[in-house]
């Protein structure tokens, strides 16, 4: 893996980049916060929690599953982003229901698949985070089974260092 020269471990550029990023992201958040309505509190938690939960499968795959490839990582990342955008669009198009009411959006054989409620959206009675994370896990398994194995050298670097682990602990 090759990185741009300014990102080499010795470079002072990393200090500057790290600091600039903190200032930049705090600035972006500050500007949004000035204009944000009070209801954003729930929405922010909803999206950020759901997204990180779904991306958590990346860590599990990278650390515990030898068969994991870049393609299943790509699938998980794209799925997470796409499903969050889909929920955001759906909730923008379909306004929240009044308190105490639930609106069935999609019913199959008498079972509510998607419902809109005052606080957000439910899928089979669960918050969107549940199907997002489960499908991420499924994607990790299915896509990695369909793509070439990672190189033996890389797998060995990540999984054959038990002695080292014990020494570090």
């Amino acid at each position: 893996m090759r990185l741009p020269r300014c990102c080499s471990p010795e470079s002072a550029c990393r200090f500057q980049t790290g600091r600039a990023f903190v200032v930049l992201i705090a600035g972006v958040a500050y500007v949004i916060a000035l204009e944000a309505p009070a209801g954003i509190f729930n929405l922010a938690v909803q999206y950020a929690f759901s997204g990180f939960s779904s991306l958590f499968l990346l860590l599990v795959g990278a650390l515990f599953w030898r068969r994991s490839t870049k393609w299943d990582a790509l699938a998980v990342t794209v799925w997470t982003a796409a499903s969050m955008v889909a929920v955001a669009i759906f909730q923008a198009v379909e306004p929240a229901t009044p308190p105490g009411t639930v609106l069935s959006m999609w019913v199959v054989g008498g079972v509510d698949i998607i419902t809109r409620n005052p606080g957000g959206t439910d899928v089979l009675g669960f918050m969107p985070v549940v199907p997002m994370t489960l499908i991420s896990a499924a994607l990790m398994v299915v896509v990695s089974a369909c793509t070439p194995k990672p190189s033996r050298a890389t797998v060995s670097r990540y999984f054959d260092f038990q002695d080292h682990m014990h020494r570090c602990r």
């Binding site: 893996m1 090759r2 990185l3 471990p9 010795e10 470079s11 002072a12 990393r14 200090f15 500057q16 790290g18 600091r19 903190v22 200032v23 992201i25 705090a26 972006v28 958040a29 500050y30 949004i32 916060a33 000035l34 944000a36 954003i40 509190f41 929405l43 922010a44 938690v45 999206y47 950020a48 997204g51 990180f52 991306l55 990346l58 860590l59 599990v60 990278a62 650390l63 994991s68 490839t69 870049k70 990582a73 790509l74 990342t77 997470t80 982003a81 990672p150 190189s151 890389t154 670097r157 990540y158 260092f161 080292h164 682990m165 570090c168 602990r169």
Partner: protein, 220 residues
Amino acid sequence: MIPALVVFAYLGIVLYIGIFAFRRFDQQSVEGYFLAGRSLGPAVFLLSLFGTNMTAVTILGSAGHAFSDGIVTFGLMASSSAIVIPVLLFFIGTRMWALGKRHGFMTPVQMFRDRWECGHIGTLIFALQAALLVPYIIIAVMGGGTTLNAVSGGVVPVLAWRIGRCAGRYELRVLRRHAGDGARQHVPNRSLFNVRRDGAHIDQFEHRRLLAGHGAAAWR
């Protein structure tokens, strides 16, 4: 107004610790800057972990959740604090720490790039994670603004506090990165303030030049 003054005194102390730590550690090591030389002692690590988890969600969100939803909030918050976070630290945190130390990773994205033998996947994950980080900061800023506005009886306007809150968080981050660094391995009894003054292998002139170069001149 007294609660507000306590908050400001606290912020002043945080700022002082930040400047204190910033001026007394090795500015030249990238690992030292971002990871405190991989050497945070248990005390600083615990405080850092505590601070990380004391978000607007924990302090304000959970109280509101409990008010509207009742005892279920205890299950929600206690399960994450007492079970999920320790389990993740034990199984994932230690493994990532060992891998990072072995292969020189400083961020999870570096590890992803290496693990999947592809730089672009890391860039994509970074972009998505950075986007997900923004909502957290927004609610921290808004929660801080609302709280100080309330404890000061409305004297501190929400807007001004939002600016201060951003600055405070940045200082805290600098402190977290720097606090344990100078004390690594040389001083057996580490503490938050036990930062070795002679840790930097640069002279004072060079040190000041670096500080100025990093835009920190205004702090002195």
